[in-house]
């Protein structure tokens, strides 16, 4: 890349002898200037005259270009004011010499022959030299150059090269960048003039309301909405008048001062008013009339610029602008070719609290049938963007409805198209199946922001979901099977499988969505038609649902589904029934699962044995499983269970076997197998905390033989695992030492007491500690809700162990800043006495209150 700064070397080698080329050039330039001068003297140095002058300079450059024996792939482009054909008498001639390939000796020779004669005749050339490939990357740090390029106009050379340049340069991202830079440049320039156009000696190029503002207004329109100025405060004709006036004034300034000077000083105001033939006996009167015209025109420009700035679509994404009527495609032609950008328009509309503009809707509607589902999410990033769009929040229903209206939703999800305007006659539903489906999503969206005190409990459940977009996806697909008249849930599942394949969801997410769709009627059946006060009904439902996450999602799905049937269907009475079933099932899942142990002939075990990998013996698996809570089989998939069995192999007292996996960019999973002993759980938690790991979720399980399996998911905020290759060995080493009693975790943590163990700043919740000896037949249950913080589990479990209690089972969950932990504990193999329970809970509360 060469630029003006290196141009000096050509200058140094310039030809100094007069030559026929130079003489002809001097002659052409002089003739062009004479013509312009005559126009200016007549007061007619406005747009027409400057265009004629620019054309003559063009002709001169073309001749010079031809004389210079140009290589095949070169084009000379006029930039900036010259590009707009507004070249004044002493304006710099801004040029870009663009080569189609790399610049070698031939190209340099051409440059010399083209540029040197111009310098020799005294023309001020602002030139840039580039290779076409330079435009593959944006020169983000050179905003003035980028702005000048917007006016680029081919003067001489290969037109095709100019077209290639245009294709490379005019991209939505580049436009967005230029727009941002332009707005900043305007602010900086205005600041130099104290942001007022009413200058007694205005600069007709730089002042607010002068020529640069005029060009900027047009540029904003060009970059955002070419028709913008037609809707502006000034009639476009008045805007053109202002331009002509300012150019006429500028021309007289150049003529009078004989240089590129643009300040309309008091002295020059008199001269200019004469040139422009203002009437008046006294110079003062003529000047007043001139300046009053100036301010009138400057005000027109200024108002138009302000209006354009306010009204122009603000860039909100690739090829997306936010305008008064919503999100628009900045370049509809480009948008029509790139369907993967369409989802972004709806995302931007939700983010900006607006809609997708009618114009963009028409663009999509016009082109949508050309594309297949995969075209809308061709890569991982666009698939993730589609899922992100489905997060329930204000505006989602309205945007999905827009997507449906313009045909996009049915193309992205052809399965959904099958229920478009579908009428199913029954006694309950009031809307077509597609609208019922979208209304379920509206219900969820409203729940996510409701202020109704009665609904806060369900709003909390929704806001606690780790992946609420999966719930919305399930809702979107739950009734697609209704295109047929028979068992719609089964058909919906069949159709949803295709969607999930295309979206390439993780296995876990996929299972969740299919479960919710398949069983979307189950919870309303149990809540409204079964005796939920019967513990066996709740127990069966808990066994069926398996995990708290699924329970939460199915509860919300049921609520949304019932609510969308008709305005009268979801009564507070039904909501109460649903909530009660939710709470009873949640309590069963978290407090009673310890009573249900895996025994011989346990359902689900046969599958595990049948698919047993060759390195495992079936007996090994059954031995490992026996006595673990039945929920274990629902919490972990087969692969994880086999991994746990391998970890348990040959475990001896004080040994620790562990496996560590990275789940995603921030979350790690650690599985630890060891044999139970006092303080074990708090020691393990303490070690993790001593490495700065923040435990988010997990399960601690024991079987009657004292085998302990703890599975933690945690974030490694200090990046110990990411930065140390031997991290796993070091972690294992410390764990073994601490578990065997060779190392004291309290010592390891001492250095962190004040620092890392401190609770995160942010929202605090008063801690809740509740012990229950009724919920389970074998355990005292401790429900603890507290503000999450590094070391929280360590502190809690240490107090429990200090009270001589065994930690048998633990459920660990985190929802935002809130930690929700449920401990199943015993003392000497039995539940705690009332006194022991009382002592422990008050100690725990004290600990939590002291450190929170």
């Amino acid at each position: 890349m060469l630029d003006a700064a290196t141009g000096g070397e050509y200058h140094g080698m310039s030809v100094t002898q007069p030559d026929p080329v130079g003489a002809r050039l001097t002659g052409s330039l002089a003739a062009a200037r004479a013509e312009l001068t005559a126009d200016v003297r007549r007061g007619a140095g406005g747009r027409g005259a400057l265009e004629r002058y620019s054309d003559r300079v063009d002709a001169m450059l073309r001749q010079l270009f031809a004389d210079g024996k140009p290589p095949e792939h070169v084009v000379v482009l006029a930039l900036g004011g010259y590009g707009r054909r507004h070249l004044c008498l002493h304006s710099d001639i801004d040029l870009l010499v663009l080569f189609g390939g790399s610049i070698g000796a031939v190209e340099e020779r051409f440059l010399r022959s083209f540029l040197h004669p111009l310098w020799d005749i005294g023309v001020v050339v602002g030139h840039q030299v580039r290779e076409i490939d330079d435009f593959r990357k944006l020169e983000a740090d050179n905003p003035e150059f980028l702005l000048a390029l917007l006016d680029a106009r081919p003067v001489a050379g290969a037109r095709a090269l100019f077209d290639r340049f245009s294709a490379l340069f005019h991209k939505p991202d580049t436009h967005a960048h230029i727009l941002t830079s332009l707005l900043q440049l305007i602010d900086e320039r205005h600041a130099r003039f104290n942001a007022t156009l009413y200058q007694l000696e205005p600069d007709v190029k730089e002042s607010p309301g002068a020529l640069r503002d005029l060009a900027a207004t047009r540029t904003i329109a060009l970059l955002t909405d070419p028709l913008l100025l037609r809707r502006g405060p000034a009639d476009p004709a008045r805007f053109d008048d202002a331009e002509d006036f300012l150019l006429r004034v500028r021309s007289t300034l150049h003529l009078e001062t004989d240089r590129n000077l643009n300040v309309l000083s008091h002295e020059l105001q008199e001269k200019t008013s004469e040139f422009l033939a203002y009437p008046g006996a006294e110079p003062r009167q003529r000047v007043e009339r001139l300046m009053s015209d100036y301010f009138r025109h400057a005000r027109t420009v200024s108002r138009s610029l302000e209006w354009a700035r306010k009204t122009a679509p603000a860039p909100v994404g690739p090829n997306l602008g936010l305008s008064r009527d919503g999100i628009r495609f900045l370049d509809p032609i480009q948008a029509a070719r790139d369907p993967s950008s369409w989802i972004g328009a709806f995302q931007a509309a939700i983010d900006s609290g607006t809609e997708v503009a009618e114009e963009a809707m028409s663009c999509i509607q016009q082109h949508v049938d050309r594309y297949r589902a995969d075209d809308f999410f061709p890569d991982d990033a666009s698939r993730a963007a589609l899922l992100a769009l489905l997060k329930p929040r204000a505006g989602l229903y309205a945007r999905l409805s827009q997507m449906h209206d313009c045909g996009l939703l049915g193309r992205v999800f052809p399965e959904f198209q099958a229920i478009s305007w579908r009428v199913v006659r029954d006694f309950y539903h009031k809307y077509t199946v597609d609208e019922h489906t979208l209304l379920t999503i509206r219900g969820l969206e409203r729940l996510s922001t409701t202020a109704d005190p009665y609904r806060q409990r369900l709003r909390n459940v929704l806001n606690e979901l780790a992946e609420p977009e999966l719930l919305v996806l399930s809702l979107l697909l739950h009734d697609v099977g209704k295109w047929r008249d028979d068992d719609h849930a089964t058909e919906s599942v069949r159709m949803a499988r295709d969607v999930l394949d295309r979206l390439r969801l993780t296995d876990e997410a996929r299972e969740t969505v299919l479960f919710l769709i398949k069983h979307h009627l189950r919870m309303s059946l149990v809540a409204f038609r079964r005796d939920t006060e019967d513990p066996d009904i709740v127990k069966d439902f808990a066994a069926f649902i398996g995990t708290e996450q699924r329970l939460k999602m199915l509860c919300l799905l049921t609520l949304a589904d019932v609510e969308a049937v008709s305005p009268e269907t979801l009564t507070p009475w039904k909501e109460e029934l649903l909530w009660r079933l939710y709470v009873d099932t949640y309590n069963h899942l978290t407090q009673r699962y310890g009573d249900e142990r895996i025994g011989r002939n346990q359902a689900g075990v046969n599958d595990l044995l049948a698919q047993c990998p060759s390195d495992l013996e079936p007996q090994e698996i059954t031995r490992f499983l026996e006595g673990l809570p039945q929920r274990y089989l629902q919490l972990f998939n087969h692969e994880a269970i086999y991994r746990h069995v391998r970890l348990a192999r040959g475990i001896q007292p004080d040994e620790v076997h562990l496996s560590l996996d990275r789940q995603d960019s921030s979350v790690w999973t650690l599985a630890v197998v060891t044999l139970d002993k006092p303080f074990l759980f708090s020691n393990i938690c303490g070690v993790l905390s001593s490495f700065g790991m923040d435990i988010l979720r997990g399960h601690a399980l024991t079987n009657p033989n004292g085998l302990v399996l703890d599975v933690f998911q945690f974030t490694d905020d200090e990046r110990f695992l990411a930065l140390n290759d031997d991290a796993q060995d070091r972690l294992l080493h410390v764990l073994e030492n601490v578990v065997a009693g060779r190392d004291d975790v309290t010592v390891r943590l001492r250095g962190r007491e004040r620092g890392a163990l401190a609770v995160k700043t942010g929202a605090r919740f008063p801690p809740v500690v509740r012990a229950d000896k009724e919920a389970s037949s074998q355990y005292t249950i401790l429900d603890i809700v507290a503000t999450n913080g590094l070391g929280l589990l360590y502190r809690i479990s240490r107090v429990i162990s200090q009270h001589g209690c065994d930690v048998d089972l633990v459920l660990i969950a985190t929802e935002g800043e809130k930690a929700i932990d449920v401990f199943h504990i015993t003392k000497g193999g039995s539940k705690l006495t009332d006194g022991e329970q009382q002592g422990l809970t008050s100690d725990l509360l004290r600990t939590l209150e002291d450190t929170q």
């Binding site: 038609r529 005796d531 309590n587 500690v769």
Partner: protein, 109 residues
């Protein structure tokens, strides 16, 4: 004529309807209601916090039957709605003086 008003468990509505249908009692009014009887609700616990659930969701079924059918209807309702646990509900019986069919204005005995 007697009006029989039953407060029953929500999940027992279908059973009660079926039992009344067997006595050829087809007309009825079913309402979602909330309330409590002697049990005065109970305490529910969610995440360590106690919630007092004082008003429980129940269903109210009203039927009007000839005096001669009243005993059978009451027996059918009680049998169908019973689980033997607290919270099975109540049946109230009231005399009905007159009854009119709105469509025809006709008075029924």
């Amino acid at each position: 004529m007697k009006m029989i008003k039953s407060i029953i468990r929500p999940n027992k509505v279908d059973d009660v309807k079926d039992a009344l249908a067997k006595l050829n009692i087809a007309g009825m009014t079913v309402t979602e209601v909330r309330g409590h009887g002697k049990q005065k609700g109970h305490t529910a616990i969610y995440r360590g916090k106690e919630y007092n659930v004082s008003l429980l969701p129940k269903m109210e079924i009203e039927v009007v039957v000839p005096d001669a059918l009243a005993d059978d209807a009451i027996k059918a309702i009680v049998t169908a709605a019973r689980t033997g646990e607290i919270g099975d509900g109540r049946v109230f019986v009231m005399p009905v003086q007159e009854s009119y069919r709105i469509r025809t204005g006709e008075r029924e005995a």
